[in-house]
Every structure is written in C-alpha cells, then in structure tokens.
C-alpha cells in the first residue's frame, strides 16, 4: 500500500506540473481573435511535432491511468478496513469535507477528462468526428475546434463547473502528496499548504474563466 500511495503522490505531482503548462498555453486563448488563432495553432503544431513531447504525452497517459487505478485499489482496501460506518459521524468537526471526499472529487474530474478528451484529443489526434481544417499559416486549426466548442453554452457551463472539484482535489492533493512522500518539515509544510491553496485557486479560476471569455468573443 505504501508503494501504491507513493505512485499516486508522484503521478499527482506530475499532473500538477502538467496543469501549469496546460493553463499557460490556454491563456493564449484570451488574446484577440487573430493573434490567438495563429499563436495557438503554431504552438499546438510545435507540440505535436516534437519527439520529446511525444514521450511526455505517454508519461501523461500513464500517469492518469496509474493515478486512477491505484486510487481505486487503495479505496477498495480502505473501504474493507472500515466495513461498517457510524450511525452518527461529525467528521466535519475534525477534518475538511474535501479531504474526506477525494474519491468523489476524483471521479468528477475523471468524468471531465473523458468529455474533454472526446472534444479535443479524439477529434484532433485520432481524427474522429468532424474533420479539422488548416489556418492561414497551414497549421491544423485547433483554435477553431476550441472556439466552436465554446459557442455551445452547455459546454461552457460544464467546463466551468467541473473546475470546482478540480480545485478542491488539487488543494488537498498537493499538500497531501508531499506528506505521503515523507516531507515532514513543519514550517515547510505550512508553506506548502499555502502554496496548495493559491495553486488550486489559480488552476480552478484560470481554467474556469477561459471558456466564458472564448464564448463572449
């Protein structure tokens, strides 16, 4: 179980770093229409053609799978350890709701990832659904895929709302990962707790507002 927990922590931290890169790239989308289109498309083309990014992409897929599978196995084991719960349990008096519901939050995020991959990854990388055209520079027009998706208000709401569980999951997960990996410096952990909060807010708000900005363009 210690090995599995360490893997969950390590993959989680990797995913946290990935999110920073992802959000930085997404921030291109808030730029004025033409600049955003050419910059975003050339950026995504560079990524697709880089062999290094290809490796990172496989590490990313593997991280998500390991994080989910090991979390599931750990949760099953934990449920077995508490076969019967309490009739009355005031757990909110001794711990945060978030820390008690990481599994539920994780499942919400997984649901989001499935929809997100279907919207972008399946269409651009696997070539499923409607074909993707080229922009004026001859790059695959990923910007158009994003722009057209967020003309649909339902997707805007879905992409925005699901950033709430993401933020909560990151807030507990980031600081918890450090402790799982054996970081026990008291003042250091206090700093990490603050960093986790700020990081979680930036990620949730950052990813959460971009769809609305694109919708209003």
């Amino acid at each position: 179980m210690f090995f599995r927990k360490s893997i969950i922590a390590l993959t989680g931290l990797f995913l946290c770093i990935f999110l920073i890169v992802h959000l930085s790239a997404n921030s291109i989308l808030v730029l004025p229409e033409e600049t955003a289109r050419s910059l975003y498309n050339s950026y995504s083309t560079t990524l697709r053609e880089s062999p290094l990014i290809k490796i990172v992409a496989y590490v990313l897929y593997l991280s998500i799978i390991l994080h989910v599978v090991y979390a599931l196995l750990i949760t099953i084991n934990n449920r077995k350890a508490k076969a019967k719960g309490y009739r009355v349990n005031q757990y909110k008096e001794n711990s945060s709701w978030t820390s008690q519901n990481m599994g539920l939050l994780g499942i919400s995020i997984l649901l989001f990832i499935v929809v997100h991959l279907a919207n972008f990854w399946a269409r651009i990388k696997l070539g499923m659904g409607e074909g993707v055209g080229l922009d004026a520079n001859g790059h695959v027009d990923v910007y158009e895929v994003t722009y057209s998706l967020f003309q649909n208000g339902y997707y805007v709401v879905f992409y925005t709302l699901l950033m709430v569980p993401l933020g909560l999951h990151l807030h507990h997960g980031l600081k918890s990962a450090f402790m799982t990996l054996g970081f026990y410096h008291k003042r250091g952990l206090r700093t990490i707790a603050k960093v986790s909060l700020v990081y979680a807010i930036i990620m949730a708000v950052g990813f959460g507002v971009i769809p609305s900005i694109v919708f209003l363009k």
Partner: protein, 247 residues
C-alpha cells in the same frame, strides 16, 4: 438532568447488534460521562436487565481504555480528550446521546461497546521496543540525548494506544499510532540499532492487521487525547522509504 442514551448493543462478535434507547433521569452536570453510564447500568441491574459492557481503567485520561464514539466524535464532542475526561456538562438537558463502539474491521466487537484492540499490540510486537540486556539501570548520562530530541521523542511516546485515530479515520488507518511508536524509538540513540527493521516490520504488520492507508484527512490528530501531530505520519513515510531503499 435527563438524557436519552442511544447505545449500540451487541451480544458478541458474531451477532448482529442494534441501537437501544434508554431514558435516564437523575443525572447531574458534574457527573463524568462514565459515571452517567454507571448510573444507567445500576438502573438496568435494578430491573434485572443485562448491563451495558464498556471499557475503562484509570478514569483520569492516561490509560486509553475508555474509547467509545459519542455523538459522532471519538471520545465525545471535545478535541484532544479521552471519554473519562468528558462530563455531562458538555450536554444539554434532554439531549439524545448516541454511543457507538470503535468501528474498524481490525477491531472486532467483543460485546456492546467493547472492541478487541489486539491488532495494535501485534504491531508493537514487531518492534515497539528496544532489544537490550536488562540489569541494573545504566548511568543516566552514559548516552547523551539533547533536549530538543528528548522532547520530540516524548511527544510521540505520549501515545496511550486508545485507538481513537483508527476509530475516527475514514480508512481505519492505524498510521498515527504506528508512526508515534516508530518515531519515538527511532529518533533516540537507544532505538537506532534496530531502526530500519522496526519501521519496515511495524508498517508491514499494520497492513497485515487490515488497517487502511493514510489519506491525511487530519481527523486523527484532532481526536488524539495526546495531540500527537500528523507530521509523525509523514516522518514515518520518510523513515520507511529510507529503510526500504538505503537499508
């Protein structure tokens, strides 16, 4: 003062068990919680009913025997406290007080509110001691221990093994207990000789006993009567990783 006790009754580990309600009058605010239960048991004796089984020993907050779940909290509504330190003034007249045994698969119910906490003893047997020749007490200054280190070891050694950490943990993890025992001994010079073996074997036994994993909810350190910090678990993880990879 009058309260309604809603108490878990279970004949033995194999039977099903259920809640039963008891309206108890004639209590005072100054009574301890255990005295209120004593009072209820006297009433049950007087009407020839089976008394409620619950554990206690010292009744002064140092032995860790009196663990029960009261109104959704381990050892009752206050932080850092044992059940015997809880008084009826913490409740209002007419309150319903729900009393349940510790819930953990590793702690099978023996009867009513009494659970078998041998699993914690089994973890101790795997290294919660130092192997040293007994004899006359050694000279106190033969092994020097700095004040900071002595304090840190003492904070961990304060664990009374009550099982509140396991009871309150949503995963029934015994990590706080095991970490306190490991860090207590491994941080002192006397415990260094068997440090790696201790951390590996005690954590292994913890898993074998059927306790869950730590997900750092932090509930344990709030319910711990001794206020043992959750940082001990992170430190145990560090010690375990070091022992595993560096020997």
């Amino acid at each position: 003062m009058k309260v309604i006790f809603k108490i878990w009754r279970q004949e033995n580990a194999a039977s099903k068990g259920n809640f039963e309600s008891y309206e108890v009058d004639g209590l005072t605010k100054d009574m301890s919680f255990l005295e209120a239960l004593d009072h209820l048991n006297e009433l049950l004796v007087s009407i020839n009913k089976r008394v409620i089984a619950y554990e206690y020993d010292c009744r002064e907050g140092i032995c860790g025997q009196c663990g029960v779940f009261i109104n959704g909290r381990a050892h009752g509504p206050h932080d850092h406290m044992t059940t015997c330190q809880l008084h009826m003034r913490s409740f209002e007249d007419g309150d319903t007080i729900v009393v349940e045994p510790w819930r953990a698969s590793a702690f099978p119910i023996i009867k009513d509110l009494v659970v078998d906490r041998s699993a914690l003893d089994n973890i101790i047997e795997k290294g919660g001691y130092i192997s040293a020749k007994t004899g006359t007490a050694p000279e106190a200054n033969a092994i020097l221990v700095g004040k900071e280190l002595a304090d840190k070891a003492m904070d961990a050694a304060a664990c009374i093994g009550c099982g509140a950490c396991v009871a309150t943990c949503k995963n029934s993890s015994a990590s706080l207990f095991t970490a306190a025992k490991i860090n207590h001994l491994n941080s002192l010079p006397q415990g260094k000789q068997e440090a790696s073996k201790r951390v590996l074997e005690m954590t292994r036994q913890m898993e074998l006993e059927g306790f869950g994993s730590c997900t750092f909810t932090g509930a344990c350190e709030v319910e711990c009567p001794e206020g043992i910090s959750i940082l001990n678990i992170a430190e145990m993880n560090a010690r375990r990783t070091k022992a595993k990879w560096l020997g």
